[in-house]
């Protein structure tokens, strides 16, 4: 029994299999405009956007410990920026989406400076106050329709692609693209030096600080990057909807409560969790949506039961049972005799 009998690996067979399978699924999804119907594509687009929101919230809450209930601030901000830049400045929608991301990150800087003074649950409600400030402020802008909102002019919608099919495919690909971008960004970030710092902070803030990690700066970076990406997702959401109003844009239930439920049901603090959570959320929604408000009551109950009985979510049940990690983040020690790989 010498040390040479052991090797430290990051990836595993399961992860490699998952990567290949993931690439195949991605190819099939990219080809969706050729095999899926209109309604299916719309639903899938929505799923991708929720997946992006959930992965971003998971990065903030699950890794950086920033439990925000005010991400609708950035969703709505991104949507409104898309409308403002396309209508008043005449930017093409794609450019406006990118600009929404940049502006979202910029506006998050002073917000973070203020809101980081609050801790824990008070931080959470403080973010909500900001979202309310955004909602009330955008409701004051009469050129964007004030409290009743406005629609994206036909000319701008037409400028994306000539045919209706072309527009729908484009908006589907954009949604898929942002979901892949967000998951890839979260994965690469967590594998980087900063990600290691973040994981250390998650596990023990005091110990991480004593090892020389700048906690405030790390959290600040996460908050600002998340804000920018969330604003881009928001712009895409309202590019799909083609209509925006303050109440829809800054809805705490649609853009935060559901997202939190998704992450917690799937498994917070893992990359796989939000993916599973999104699938469960939409499966529930598609089967129970006819029940109307009862569906939301069921969703709330499921979230409470999961939090009380399996606080690490569905993915953790699977992971502990089968010792799986599809996105290789951690390292594992292996005994060479087994010759697994």
């Amino acid at each position: 029994m010498s040390l040479q009998n052991y090797t430290v690996t990051r990836t595993s067979q399961a992860a490699r299999a998952a990567a290949i399978l993931g690439a195949l699924v991605l190819l099939v999804l990219i080809a969706a405009p050729w095999w899926a119907g209109r309604a299916d594509m719309r639903l899938m687009g929505e799923i991708f956007l929720y997946l992006a929101l959930a992965s971003l919230w998971n990065l903030m809450a699950g890794y950086a410990g920033l439990v925000s209930v005010g991400q609708q601030a950035f969703v709505g901000f991104g949507g409104y920026i898309l409308f403002a830049l396309t209508i008043f400045v005449g930017l093409p929608p794609i450019v406006a989406i990118a600009a929404a991301g940049v502006l979202g990150a910029i506006i998050a800087v002073p917000m973070a400076a203020l809101i980081f003074r609050l801790r824990g649950a008070y931080f959470a409600i403080g973010t909500w106050v900001f979202a309310e400030v955004f909602r009330l402020s955008f409701a004051q802008i009469s050129s964007l329709g004030g409290g009743s909102g406005s629609s994206l002019p036909v000319g701008i919608v037409r400028s994306m692609a000539a045919s209706r099919d072309g527009r729908e495919s484009l908006s589907y690909w954009l949604a898929l693209g942002i979901a892949v971008l967000v998951i890839a960004a979260v994965y690469l970030f967590l594998r980087s030096r900063n990600g290691l710092a973040l994981t250390a902070i998650r596990d023990n803030e005091l110990a991480a600080g004593s090892l020389g990690i700048d906690i405030w700066r790390t959290k600040f970076v996460v908050y600002v990057v998340t804000a920018g990406l969330t604003a881009m997702v928001g712009a895409l959401i309202f590019l799909q909807k083609l209509r925006i109003s303050p109440d829809a844009a800054f809805s705490v239930n649609d853009w935060t409560a559901f997202v939190i439920f998704i992450v917690v049901i799937g498994g917070i603090g893992t990359i796989e969790g939000p993916i599973i959570g999104t699938l469960i959320f939409f499966a529930l929604r598609e089967t129970l949506a006819d029940l109307g408000t009862t569906y939301l009551i069921v969703l709330g109950l499921v979230a409470i039961v999961v939090m009380l009985k399996a606080p690490k979510g569905v993915w953790s049940l699977i992971r502990t049972r089968f010792d799986l990690q599809l996105f290789p983040l951690g390292y594992r020690v292996q005994h060479n005799d087994k010759k697994a790989d």
Partner: protein
Amino acid sequence: MDWLNAVVQGTLLGGLYALFAAGLSLIFGVMRLVNIAHGDLIILAAYLGLTVTTVAGVHPLLALLIVVPAMGLIGYALQRGILNQTLGDDLLPPLLVTFGLSVILQNGLLEIYTADPQKMDAGALEIASFAVGSLTLGVLPVLTFAIAVAVIWGLQWTFYRTALGRAFRAVSDNQDIAQLMGLNRRHIFGLAMALALAVTAIAGILLGIRTSFDPSVGGGRLIFGFEAVIIGGLGNLWGTLAGGVILGVAQTVGAKIDPGWQILAGHIVFLLILAVRPNGLFPRVSG
């Protein structure tokens, strides 16, 4: 004179916000729990009041005799049944569970009472007023403010002069040692939530007499209460009253400048105070 009027009316409005906030402040002080469903519980109390007044045909203020104990019982059951399981070092479980509760309450109320705005009929009390100098004060706002002062005085007295209050302070300081001294912290937490929701019941009834309400307005009430708590300083009940008054004045003065700015002005004042005095104006415990 208009401005003085705005300040006075805002101060009286602040009484209502202090009532929203007192329950939040109490449960945060005792068990470090932030209840996201607090606003929805206020609305639940308003609907309970509505049902009692319509079924029994009594004045809304008399409905307090039933709604206050009912909310107290709900609070105790909620704390012992669910919320006690979420308490610990981790912030997420209580936050998520109360978030889930908030969604359940909102949609449950929607199912039972529909989305139509409702209001409680308090008869002559709603429009009664009296003159002080050149100002005219509504009886209801003055009564609300007086009740807020009385409630906060009562909570303060309970906290510092009774055995129950001593138990509250003990579990707040150190749960484990309080447990060793023979206090059952689960029971104490249940009582604290019962007391908090009893106050919430008063707030809900007064809200329901003053304005119309529907199942979706809980979140806004939570935010007002939260802002009052933070402005006043965590753990300081009289500070919470001051916070409510500052918020109320900011809103009425904001509305005076531009009607669209009423709520926004309150939020902006809150953020300004947060920038200058992050611990609030009169902090007693640190967050």
